[in-house]
Protein backbone atom coordinates (compact mmCIF):
# COMPACT_ATOMS: atom_id res chain seq x y z
CA UNK A 1 0.00 0.00 0.00
CA UNK A 2 1.47 3.36 -1.03
CA UNK A 3 0.98 6.74 0.53
CA UNK A 4 -2.55 7.49 1.71
CA UNK A 5 -3.94 10.95 2.44
CA UNK A 6 -7.01 11.13 4.63
CA UNK A 7 -8.77 14.36 3.73
CA UNK A 8 -12.06 16.18 3.86
CA UNK A 9 -11.90 18.90 1.23
CA UNK A 10 -14.42 20.89 3.23
CA UNK A 11 -11.50 21.72 5.56
CA UNK A 12 -8.94 24.36 4.68
CA UNK A 13 -5.81 22.48 5.78
CA UNK A 14 -6.94 19.42 3.79
CA UNK A 15 -7.22 21.52 0.65
CA UNK A 16 -3.69 22.87 1.11
CA UNK A 17 -2.35 19.32 1.45
CA UNK A 18 -4.38 18.12 -1.56
CA UNK A 19 -3.24 20.93 -3.84
CA UNK A 20 0.38 20.53 -2.79
CA UNK A 21 0.45 16.75 -3.19
CA UNK A 22 -1.16 16.97 -6.62
CA UNK A 23 1.01 19.87 -7.72
CA UNK A 24 4.32 18.21 -6.90
CA UNK A 25 3.15 14.88 -8.28
CA UNK A 26 3.00 12.80 -5.08
CA UNK A 27 1.54 9.38 -5.91
CA UNK A 28 -1.19 8.91 -3.29
CA UNK A 29 -4.51 7.25 -2.57
CA UNK A 30 -7.14 9.75 -1.50
CA UNK A 31 -9.16 8.53 1.47
CA UNK A 32 -12.11 10.87 1.92
CA UNK A 33 -13.22 11.36 5.53
CA UNK A 34 -16.46 13.31 5.77
CA UNK A 35 -16.32 15.21 9.03
CA UNK A 36 -19.93 16.41 8.87
CA UNK A 37 -21.01 12.77 8.71
CA UNK A 38 -18.85 11.98 11.73
CA UNK A 39 -16.53 9.70 9.77
CA UNK A 40 -13.49 11.06 11.61
CA UNK A 41 -14.85 9.39 14.75
CA UNK A 42 -14.70 5.87 13.33
CA UNK A 43 -12.42 3.28 14.92
CA UNK A 44 -10.75 2.66 11.57
CA UNK A 45 -9.76 6.27 11.24
CA UNK A 46 -8.55 6.37 14.85
CA UNK A 47 -5.92 3.81 13.78
CA UNK A 48 -4.57 6.38 11.38
CA UNK A 49 -4.94 9.38 13.69
CA UNK A 50 -5.87 8.73 17.33
CA UNK A 51 -6.65 12.45 17.63
CA UNK A 52 -9.38 11.87 15.00
CA UNK A 53 -8.59 14.88 12.86
CA UNK A 54 -7.99 15.54 9.22
CA UNK A 55 -5.72 15.88 7.38
CA UNK A 56 -3.81 12.70 8.18
CA UNK A 57 -1.15 10.79 6.25
CA UNK A 58 -0.28 7.10 6.23
CA UNK A 59 2.98 6.10 4.62
CA UNK A 60 3.50 2.39 5.24
CA UNK A 61 3.58 2.13 9.03
CA UNK A 62 4.23 5.81 9.50
CA UNK A 63 1.17 7.91 10.33
CA UNK A 64 1.22 11.69 10.61
CA UNK A 65 -1.27 14.41 11.50
CA UNK A 66 -1.23 18.23 11.28
CA UNK A 67 -1.19 19.96 7.92
CA UNK A 68 2.11 21.82 8.35
CA UNK A 69 3.87 18.62 9.35
CA UNK A 70 2.34 16.82 6.36
CA UNK A 71 3.23 19.58 3.89
CA UNK A 72 6.85 19.69 5.06
CA UNK A 73 7.11 15.87 5.07
CA UNK A 74 5.81 15.64 1.50
CA UNK A 75 8.03 18.50 0.40
CA UNK A 76 11.15 16.75 1.65
CA UNK A 77 10.28 13.18 0.79
CA UNK A 78 9.20 13.96 -2.76
CA UNK A 79 11.92 16.57 -3.30
CA UNK A 80 9.60 19.41 -4.18
CA UNK A 81 11.22 22.33 -6.04
CA UNK A 82 13.09 24.49 -3.53
CA UNK A 83 10.74 27.48 -3.62
CA UNK A 84 7.97 25.53 -1.89
CA UNK A 85 10.01 25.31 1.34
CA UNK A 86 13.41 26.89 0.70
CA UNK A 87 16.76 25.68 1.96
CA UNK A 88 18.01 29.24 2.35
CA UNK A 89 18.04 30.17 6.05
CA UNK A 90 16.15 33.46 5.81
CA UNK A 91 13.74 32.40 3.07
CA UNK A 92 12.83 29.30 5.09
CA UNK A 93 12.39 31.38 8.23
CA UNK A 94 9.87 33.55 6.41
CA UNK A 95 7.80 30.50 5.52
CA UNK A 96 8.07 29.16 9.08
CA UNK A 97 7.02 32.56 10.38
CA UNK A 98 3.90 32.61 8.21
CA UNK A 99 2.96 29.01 9.01
CA UNK A 100 3.26 29.74 12.74
CA UNK A 101 1.33 33.02 12.61
CA UNK A 102 -1.56 31.74 10.56
CA UNK A 103 -2.23 28.92 12.95
CA UNK A 104 -3.21 31.19 15.80
CA UNK A 105 -4.54 34.09 13.76
CA UNK A 106 -6.01 33.78 10.27
CA UNK A 107 -7.08 30.17 10.65
CA UNK A 108 -9.55 30.68 13.48
CA UNK A 109 -11.03 33.85 11.92
CA UNK A 110 -11.67 32.11 8.63
CA UNK A 111 -13.25 29.09 10.33
CA UNK A 112 -15.46 31.24 12.50
CA UNK A 113 -16.70 33.34 9.56
CA UNK A 114 -17.57 30.19 7.63
CA UNK A 115 -19.45 28.69 10.54
CA UNK A 116 -21.16 31.82 11.81
CA UNK A 117 -22.13 33.19 8.41
CA UNK A 118 -23.20 30.00 6.81
CA UNK A 119 -22.82 26.62 8.43
CA UNK A 120 -24.57 27.39 11.68
CA UNK A 121 -27.64 29.11 10.23
CA UNK A 122 -27.99 26.96 7.09
CA UNK A 123 -26.74 23.59 8.17
CA UNK A 124 -27.64 23.53 11.85
CA UNK A 125 -30.49 26.01 11.92
CA UNK A 126 -28.78 27.96 14.71
CA UNK A 127 -29.31 31.68 15.02
CA UNK A 128 -26.09 33.68 15.18
CA UNK A 129 -26.44 37.06 16.93
CA UNK A 130 -25.52 39.88 14.51
CA UNK A 131 -23.06 41.36 17.03
CA UNK A 132 -21.20 38.05 17.19
CA UNK A 133 -20.86 37.85 13.41
CA UNK A 134 -19.85 41.52 13.24
CA UNK A 135 -17.09 40.98 15.79
CA UNK A 136 -15.84 37.91 13.93
CA UNK A 137 -15.78 39.81 10.64
CA UNK A 138 -13.87 42.65 12.30
CA UNK A 139 -11.28 40.16 13.54
CA UNK A 140 -10.96 38.66 10.07
CA UNK A 141 -10.44 42.14 8.72
CA UNK A 142 -7.62 42.76 11.16
CA UNK A 143 -5.94 39.52 10.11
CA UNK A 144 -6.32 40.37 6.43
CA UNK A 145 -4.74 43.75 7.00
CA UNK A 146 -1.77 42.07 8.69
CA UNK A 147 -1.59 39.57 5.85
CA UNK A 148 -1.31 42.43 3.37
CA UNK A 149 0.97 44.72 5.38
CA UNK A 150 3.26 42.32 7.14
CA UNK A 151 3.47 39.31 4.86
CA UNK A 152 2.55 40.19 1.30
CA UNK A 153 3.81 43.78 1.32
CA UNK A 154 5.01 44.50 -2.25
CA UNK A 155 6.05 40.95 -3.08
CA UNK A 156 4.35 38.64 -5.54
CA UNK A 157 3.87 35.96 -2.91
CA UNK A 158 3.63 35.90 0.88
CA UNK A 159 7.25 35.15 1.59
CA UNK A 160 8.96 36.63 -1.46
CA UNK A 161 9.06 36.44 -5.25
CA UNK A 162 8.10 32.75 -5.46
CA UNK A 163 5.12 30.70 -4.33
CA UNK A 164 5.66 28.56 -1.23
CA UNK A 165 3.58 26.30 1.01
CA UNK A 166 2.68 29.48 2.92
CA UNK A 167 0.65 30.71 -0.04
CA UNK A 168 -1.22 27.40 -0.31
CA UNK A 169 -2.09 27.47 3.37
CA UNK A 170 -3.25 31.08 3.08
CA UNK A 171 -5.29 30.79 -0.10
CA UNK A 172 -7.18 27.74 1.13
CA UNK A 173 -7.96 29.61 4.36
CA UNK A 174 -9.29 32.63 2.50
CA UNK A 175 -11.51 30.53 0.29
CA UNK A 176 -13.38 29.51 3.42
CA UNK A 177 -15.15 32.84 4.01
CA UNK A 178 -15.50 33.20 0.23
CA UNK A 179 -17.48 29.95 0.11
CA UNK A 180 -19.74 31.35 2.83
CA UNK A 181 -20.45 34.41 0.72
CA UNK A 182 -18.02 36.81 2.35
CA UNK A 183 -15.91 38.08 -0.51
CA UNK A 184 -12.61 38.94 1.07
CA UNK A 185 -10.99 39.71 -2.28
CA UNK A 186 -13.57 42.20 -3.59
CA UNK A 187 -12.49 45.02 -1.31
CA UNK A 188 -8.80 44.16 -1.30
CA UNK A 189 -7.24 44.50 -4.77
CA UNK A 190 -3.75 43.65 -3.51
CA UNK A 191 -4.97 40.32 -2.13
CA UNK A 192 -7.08 39.72 -5.24
CA UNK A 193 -3.99 40.13 -7.42
CA UNK A 194 -2.07 37.75 -5.18
CA UNK A 195 -4.90 35.25 -5.45
CA UNK A 196 -4.70 35.35 -9.25
CA UNK A 197 -0.98 34.68 -9.10
CA UNK A 198 -1.42 31.75 -6.71
CA UNK A 199 -4.17 30.24 -8.86
CA UNK A 200 -2.04 30.64 -11.96
CA UNK A 201 0.97 29.03 -10.25
CA UNK A 202 -1.13 26.13 -8.95
CA UNK A 203 -3.18 25.72 -12.14
CA UNK A 204 -6.83 26.75 -12.48
CA UNK A 205 -8.10 23.18 -12.88
CA UNK A 206 -6.40 21.90 -9.73
CA UNK A 207 -7.53 24.95 -7.80
CA UNK A 208 -11.19 24.49 -8.86
CA UNK A 209 -11.04 20.77 -8.18
CA UNK A 210 -9.73 21.30 -4.64
CA UNK A 211 -12.46 23.86 -3.91
CA UNK A 212 -15.41 22.09 -5.47
CA UNK A 213 -16.67 20.61 -2.18
CA UNK A 214 -16.42 23.78 -0.10
CA UNK A 215 -17.95 25.99 -2.79
CA UNK A 216 -21.02 23.73 -2.74
CA UNK A 217 -21.23 23.79 1.07
CA UNK A 218 -24.01 26.38 0.97
CA UNK A 219 -26.17 23.84 -0.85
CA UNK A 220 -25.82 21.21 1.85
CA UNK A 221 -29.17 20.05 3.24
CA UNK A 222 -29.91 20.92 6.88
CA UNK A 223 -28.68 18.22 9.20
CA UNK A 224 -31.05 15.83 11.01
CA UNK A 225 -31.79 16.13 14.75
CA UNK A 226 -29.52 13.25 15.75
CA UNK A 227 -26.52 14.84 14.08
CA UNK A 228 -27.55 18.23 15.40
CA UNK A 229 -27.34 16.91 18.97
CA UNK A 230 -23.93 15.44 18.29
CA UNK A 231 -22.69 18.77 16.96
CA UNK A 232 -24.19 20.81 19.82
CA UNK A 233 -20.92 21.13 21.83
CA UNK A 234 -19.21 22.38 18.68
CA UNK A 235 -21.89 25.06 18.32
CA UNK A 236 -21.05 26.41 21.78
CA UNK A 237 -17.43 26.89 20.78
CA UNK A 238 -18.30 28.44 17.43
CA UNK A 239 -20.48 31.15 18.91
Amino acid sequence: MGLELYLDLLCQPCRAVYIFAKKIGVPFELRTVEVLKGQHNSDDFAQVNPLRKVPALKDGDFTLAESVAILLYLSRKYEAPDHWYPQDLEACARVDEYLAWQHTALRSSCSLVMWQKMMLPVFLGERVPPETLASTLAELDRCLQLLEDKFLKDDDFLTGPCISVADLVAITELMHPVSAGYHVFKTRPKLAAWRQRVEAAVGEDLFQEAHEVVMKAKDLPPVDTAMKDKLKPLVQVLL
Binding site: L64, V68, A69, Y73, L89, C92, E97, A100, W101, V237
Partner: protein, 244 residues
Protein backbone atom coordinates in the same frame (compact mmCIF):
# COMPACT_ATOMS: atom_id res chain seq x y z
CA UNK B 1 25.30 44.90 15.85
CA UNK B 2 25.04 41.17 16.49
CA UNK B 3 21.99 39.05 17.14
CA UNK B 4 19.30 40.70 19.27
CA UNK B 5 16.43 38.92 20.98
CA UNK B 6 13.48 40.99 22.13
CA UNK B 7 11.93 39.07 25.01
CA UNK B 8 9.84 39.26 28.14
CA UNK B 9 10.40 36.26 30.40
CA UNK B 10 6.78 36.49 31.54
CA UNK B 11 5.88 35.13 28.09
CA UNK B 12 6.01 31.39 27.46
CA UNK B 13 7.38 31.48 23.90
CA UNK B 14 9.99 34.05 24.98
CA UNK B 15 11.23 31.69 27.64
CA UNK B 16 11.50 28.83 25.13
CA UNK B 17 13.67 31.04 22.90
CA UNK B 18 15.75 32.25 25.85
CA UNK B 19 16.37 28.73 27.13
CA UNK B 20 17.39 27.53 23.69
CA UNK B 21 19.74 30.42 22.98
CA UNK B 22 21.39 30.26 26.39
CA UNK B 23 21.70 26.48 26.51
CA UNK B 24 23.37 26.47 23.12
CA UNK B 25 25.73 29.32 23.91
CA UNK B 26 24.32 31.48 21.13
CA UNK B 27 25.74 35.00 21.50
CA UNK B 28 22.96 37.58 21.67
CA UNK B 29 21.96 40.92 23.14
CA UNK B 30 18.90 40.59 25.30
CA UNK B 31 16.44 43.42 24.66
CA UNK B 32 13.87 43.19 27.43
CA UNK B 33 10.39 44.36 26.44
CA UNK B 34 8.24 44.62 29.54
CA UNK B 35 4.71 43.64 28.64
CA UNK B 36 3.32 44.83 31.98
CA UNK B 37 4.63 48.31 31.28
CA UNK B 38 3.08 48.23 27.81
CA UNK B 39 6.49 48.50 26.17
CA UNK B 40 5.39 46.27 23.30
CA UNK B 41 2.88 48.92 22.23
CA UNK B 42 5.17 51.89 22.83
CA UNK B 43 7.58 53.25 20.26
CA UNK B 44 11.22 52.44 20.56
CA UNK B 45 11.15 49.07 22.25
CA UNK B 46 10.61 46.77 19.29
CA UNK B 47 12.19 46.89 15.83
CA UNK B 48 10.35 49.25 13.46
CA UNK B 49 7.08 48.05 11.89
CA UNK B 50 6.91 44.96 14.12
CA UNK B 51 3.54 43.61 15.16
CA UNK B 52 3.25 44.36 18.88
CA UNK B 53 4.31 40.96 20.08
CA UNK B 54 7.28 39.15 21.51
CA UNK B 55 9.52 37.27 20.94
CA UNK B 56 11.28 39.06 18.08
CA UNK B 57 14.68 38.24 16.61
CA UNK B 58 16.83 40.83 14.85
CA UNK B 59 19.93 39.63 13.05
CA UNK B 60 21.44 42.58 11.21
CA UNK B 61 18.62 43.72 8.92
CA UNK B 62 16.72 40.47 9.23
CA UNK B 63 13.75 40.69 11.61
CA UNK B 64 11.80 37.53 12.51
CA UNK B 65 8.70 36.87 14.61
CA UNK B 66 7.03 33.70 15.90
CA UNK B 67 8.90 31.59 18.42
CA UNK B 68 8.85 28.42 16.32
CA UNK B 69 10.39 30.22 13.34
CA UNK B 70 12.99 31.80 15.65
CA UNK B 71 13.91 28.46 17.23
CA UNK B 72 14.32 26.78 13.85
CA UNK B 73 16.36 29.73 12.52
CA UNK B 74 18.68 29.66 15.54
CA UNK B 75 19.12 25.89 15.37
CA UNK B 76 20.08 26.08 11.69
CA UNK B 77 22.24 29.20 11.81
CA UNK B 78 24.19 28.20 14.89
CA UNK B 79 24.24 24.51 13.96
CA UNK B 80 23.10 23.37 17.35
CA UNK B 81 23.27 19.69 18.30
CA UNK B 82 21.14 17.58 15.99
CA UNK B 83 18.75 16.33 18.63
CA UNK B 84 17.09 19.74 19.03
CA UNK B 85 15.72 19.68 15.47
CA UNK B 86 16.78 16.34 14.02
CA UNK B 87 17.35 16.07 10.29
CA UNK B 88 15.57 12.69 10.00
CA UNK B 89 12.39 12.95 7.90
CA UNK B 90 10.08 11.23 10.36
CA UNK B 91 11.45 12.72 13.59
CA UNK B 92 11.31 16.20 12.18
CA UNK B 93 7.75 15.51 11.08
CA UNK B 94 6.87 14.49 14.65
CA UNK B 95 8.16 17.83 15.94
CA UNK B 96 6.00 19.74 13.49
CA UNK B 97 3.07 17.47 14.27
CA UNK B 98 3.42 18.29 17.96
CA UNK B 99 3.83 22.02 17.28
CA UNK B 100 0.71 22.04 15.08
CA UNK B 101 -1.38 20.48 17.83
CA UNK B 102 0.30 22.71 20.41
CA UNK B 103 -0.76 25.82 18.48
CA UNK B 104 -4.41 24.73 18.69
CA UNK B 105 -4.66 23.20 22.13
CA UNK B 106 -1.86 24.48 24.32
CA UNK B 107 -0.95 27.96 23.08
CA UNK B 108 -3.65 30.38 24.07
CA UNK B 109 -5.30 27.95 26.48
CA UNK B 110 -2.36 27.77 28.85
CA UNK B 111 -1.81 31.50 28.70
CA UNK B 112 -5.29 32.38 30.00
CA UNK B 113 -4.34 32.04 33.67
CA UNK B 114 -1.96 35.01 33.56
CA UNK B 115 -4.80 37.07 32.17
CA UNK B 116 -7.43 35.94 34.65
CA UNK B 117 -5.23 36.23 37.74
CA UNK B 118 -2.95 39.13 36.92
CA UNK B 119 -3.39 41.12 33.73
CA UNK B 120 -7.16 41.57 33.71
CA UNK B 121 -7.34 42.53 37.41
CA UNK B 122 -4.52 45.03 36.88
CA UNK B 123 -6.77 46.97 34.53
CA UNK B 124 -9.84 46.46 36.69
CA UNK B 125 -11.43 43.66 34.65
CA UNK B 126 -12.86 40.49 36.14
CA UNK B 127 -12.94 37.44 33.84
CA UNK B 128 -16.24 35.56 34.44
CA UNK B 129 -15.96 32.45 36.61
CA UNK B 130 -17.59 30.37 33.88
CA UNK B 131 -14.72 31.17 31.51
CA UNK B 132 -12.15 30.34 34.21
CA UNK B 133 -13.79 26.95 34.75
CA UNK B 134 -14.01 26.29 31.03
CA UNK B 135 -10.34 27.12 30.66
CA UNK B 136 -9.35 24.81 33.47
CA UNK B 137 -11.28 21.96 31.83
CA UNK B 138 -9.53 22.72 28.52
CA UNK B 139 -6.14 22.68 30.27
CA UNK B 140 -6.92 19.29 31.84
CA UNK B 141 -8.08 17.80 28.55
CA UNK B 142 -4.95 19.06 26.80
CA UNK B 143 -2.70 17.63 29.52
CA UNK B 144 -4.32 14.23 29.11
CA UNK B 145 -3.73 14.29 25.37
CA UNK B 146 -0.19 15.56 25.88
CA UNK B 147 0.58 12.60 28.12
CA UNK B 148 -1.25 9.92 26.19
CA UNK B 149 -0.80 10.90 22.56
CA UNK B 150 2.48 12.74 22.47
CA UNK B 151 4.61 11.65 25.39
CA UNK B 152 3.36 8.07 25.71
CA UNK B 153 6.25 5.87 26.77
CA UNK B 154 8.88 8.06 25.21
CA UNK B 155 11.41 10.11 27.12
CA UNK B 156 10.45 13.30 25.28
CA UNK B 157 7.52 14.52 23.22
CA UNK B 158 8.75 13.91 19.70
CA UNK B 159 11.63 11.48 20.17
CA UNK B 160 13.88 9.82 22.72
CA UNK B 161 15.94 13.00 23.02
CA UNK B 162 14.91 16.53 23.90
CA UNK B 163 13.77 18.71 20.97
CA UNK B 164 12.34 22.18 20.35
CA UNK B 165 8.90 20.71 20.99
CA UNK B 166 9.78 20.00 24.62
CA UNK B 167 10.90 23.59 25.24
CA UNK B 168 7.70 25.03 23.82
CA UNK B 169 5.58 22.62 25.88
CA UNK B 170 7.50 23.02 29.14
CA UNK B 171 7.14 26.78 29.16
CA UNK B 172 3.38 26.62 28.62
CA UNK B 173 3.02 24.17 31.49
CA UNK B 174 5.26 26.31 33.69
CA UNK B 175 2.95 29.25 33.04
CA UNK B 176 0.04 27.40 34.57
CA UNK B 177 2.19 26.17 37.46
CA UNK B 178 3.39 29.70 38.18
CA UNK B 179 -0.19 30.92 38.26
CA UNK B 180 -1.15 28.45 40.95
CA UNK B 181 -2.15 25.13 39.34
CA UNK B 182 0.49 22.44 39.72
CA UNK B 183 -0.19 20.40 36.61
CA UNK B 184 2.57 17.94 37.48
CA UNK B 185 0.93 16.83 40.71
CA UNK B 186 -0.87 13.55 40.16
CA UNK B 187 0.71 13.22 36.70
CA UNK B 188 3.91 11.23 37.33
CA UNK B 189 4.70 10.70 33.65
CA UNK B 190 4.58 14.43 32.94
CA UNK B 191 6.52 15.18 36.11
CA UNK B 192 9.25 12.73 35.05
CA UNK B 193 9.35 14.32 31.59
CA UNK B 194 9.72 17.76 33.13
CA UNK B 195 12.59 16.46 35.25
CA UNK B 196 14.34 15.16 32.15
CA UNK B 197 13.92 18.40 30.21
CA UNK B 198 15.18 20.47 33.13
CA UNK B 199 18.12 18.10 33.61
CA UNK B 200 19.19 18.80 30.02
CA UNK B 201 18.82 22.55 30.51
CA UNK B 202 20.47 22.66 33.93
CA UNK B 203 19.03 23.86 37.23
CA UNK B 204 20.69 27.31 37.10
CA UNK B 205 19.36 28.18 33.67
CA UNK B 206 15.88 26.97 34.63
CA UNK B 207 15.90 29.01 37.82
CA UNK B 208 17.04 32.13 35.99
CA UNK B 209 14.45 31.72 33.24
CA UNK B 210 11.51 30.76 35.44
CA UNK B 211 12.28 33.26 38.20
CA UNK B 212 10.12 36.16 36.96
CA UNK B 213 6.99 34.14 36.21
CA UNK B 214 7.30 32.11 39.42
CA UNK B 215 7.31 35.36 41.40
CA UNK B 216 4.35 36.92 39.67
CA UNK B 217 1.58 35.94 42.10
CA UNK B 218 3.62 37.11 45.07
CA UNK B 219 4.32 40.42 43.38
CA UNK B 220 0.62 40.73 42.62
CA UNK B 221 -0.30 40.06 46.26
CA UNK B 222 2.25 42.62 47.45
CA UNK B 223 0.94 45.16 44.96
CA UNK B 224 4.36 45.40 43.37
CA UNK B 225 3.12 45.20 39.80
CA UNK B 226 2.73 48.46 37.88
CA UNK B 227 -0.70 48.97 36.33
CA UNK B 228 -0.29 48.73 32.54
CA UNK B 229 -0.44 52.17 30.87
CA UNK B 230 -3.62 53.29 29.05
CA UNK B 231 -2.12 52.75 25.58
CA UNK B 232 -1.81 49.03 26.36
CA UNK B 233 -5.48 48.72 27.37
CA UNK B 234 -7.13 48.29 23.94
CA UNK B 235 -4.99 45.28 22.96
CA UNK B 236 -5.41 43.85 26.45
CA UNK B 237 -9.18 44.20 26.37
CA UNK B 238 -9.26 42.55 22.95
CA UNK B 239 -7.24 39.61 24.24
CA UNK B 240 -9.49 39.29 27.29
CA UNK B 241 -12.62 39.32 25.13
CA UNK B 242 -11.21 36.39 23.17
CA UNK B 243 -11.06 34.10 26.20
CA UNK B 244 -13.67 31.44 25.35
Amino acid sequence: MGLELYLDLLSQPCRAVYLFAKKNGIPFELRTVELLKGQHVSKGFLPASSPQKVPVLKDGDFVLHQSVAILIYLSCKYQTADHWYPPGLQTRARIHEYLGWHADFIRGTFGVCLWTKVLAPLIGVQVPEEKVRRNRAAVDRALQLLEDQFLGDKAFLASQRVTLADLMALEELMQVVALGYDVFEGRPRLAAWRGRVEAVLGADLCQETHGPILNILEQMANKQLPPPPPEAHPSMLLRISRIP
